[in-house]
Subunit: 220 residues, 2 copies
């Protein structure tokens, strides 16, 4: 029986995965929750609570087996399922994403990049040549990708998403700087780079105020 | 007296801000928590709880005054403080960020873009010409930006951050695909595009399993 995991745990899982991957690559075999806490800047009790969600891998006094924990989180994240992705939009954002995200090492396969601008057809991005967007329907029917990354202009995003849904795609990562809302059985991760900037601003503002004001706690 | 706000509320604030900005631009004056809930796909009770953190702006039966709430969140996020930012790294990621993030409309001012590659000096990105990285110290002393966006290769990130700290920068947004950890009085937002991809994978995997398995709740 699996467990349904809360949104905030899901949000932390990729981070655990990245840290564990780095530790594993460095040849480290075990780590205590205290040491992981120090590196990740998450409390040790939060770490124990998070990992207990998946069955609790730590042994009192022995810490976590890094490789084992990493492989388990890999499975939880579905990175062992070989999901295939296509990228729509070969502009700045699409190129950056295709080049900077190590698809293979994260368990995904990027199998095609599409754009509607004929000037971009054939352009090389990493190991891919940009394909014509009007061939995407046939491509999906033939290659059955499970997810699409949308990096098209804001005003085109919803149309592209709806077309792809009609071709069978049910999971989207959306970089178009707008929130697309889609039917209930479709999953969307809307990515807004400026959100991080706003969080940073919040923290800066908080620091400016901290010197002069008393603070209450407010949890929601 | 201000309130200290939990991490998960802070994470939702930029999203509230974006929605309220769009509603305000569309000329809408009031919205109920139920309607906001429908649009944002957050429960109405979560919305009320979040916004209560800041004093509770809703009037029973009248909903929220959008402009008032938006301006208040703007203040909480520090977007009214005119923070100035510099961008280090004019590669793919840096360019994408500079072009796609509407600095001005989010209350920041991007005041300079720097790169250490002489081939990029003078290159136009939006309204900026790329400056030589070896002039950044003087630039900071003269213009006093509060934050730096780091979009340099992974192996250079920590060095760049430490140099900038020694020049007086205390807040960073880090796009270099590595987590930089810095002294306690320095704030960092590490941005990993592949984290969103992993979360999407999780949700896809969960959906695949949902058909066949019973699920428990696990909150941490």
């Amino acid at each position: 029986m699996s467990k349904k995991v809360s949104e905030s745990v899901i949000n932390r899982l990729p981070r655990y995965y990245r840290y564990l991957t780095e530790l594993d690559s460095a040849g480290i075999e075990r780590i205590s929750s205290r040491e992981l806490s120090r590196r990740m800047n998450i409390t040790a009790s939060q770490i124990r609570q998070d990992l207990n969600c998946f069955g609790g891998f730590g042994q009192q006094g022995y810490g976590y087996n890094i490789k084992f924990l990493k492989e388990h989180i890999e499975k939880i994240l579905g990175l062992d399922r070989g999901f295939k992705a296509i990228l729509i939009g070969a502009g700045n954002m699409g190129q950056t994403f295709a080049i900077n995200t190590k698809f293979e090492s994260r368990g995904f396969k990027l199998i095609g990049i599409f754009d509607s601008d004929p000037q971009k057809y054939g352009m090389q991005i990493g190991e891919h040549k940009v394909l014509a967007y009007n061939t995407v329907k046939d491509f999906i029917a033939e290659n059955k990708p499970q997810m699409a990354i949308i990096a098209v202009p804001k005003k085109a995003a919803e149309n592209v998403a709806n077309a792809l849904i009609s071709y069978g795609i049910k999971a989207f990562m959306n970089f178009s700087n707008t929130e697309i809302s889609l039917p209930g059985d479709v999953t969307v991760e809307n990515v807004h780079l400026s959100d991080s900037l706003m969080r940073l601003s919040y923290k800066l503002a908080e620091k400016q105020d901290f010197a002069t004001e008393a603070l209450d706690e407010c949890e929601a």
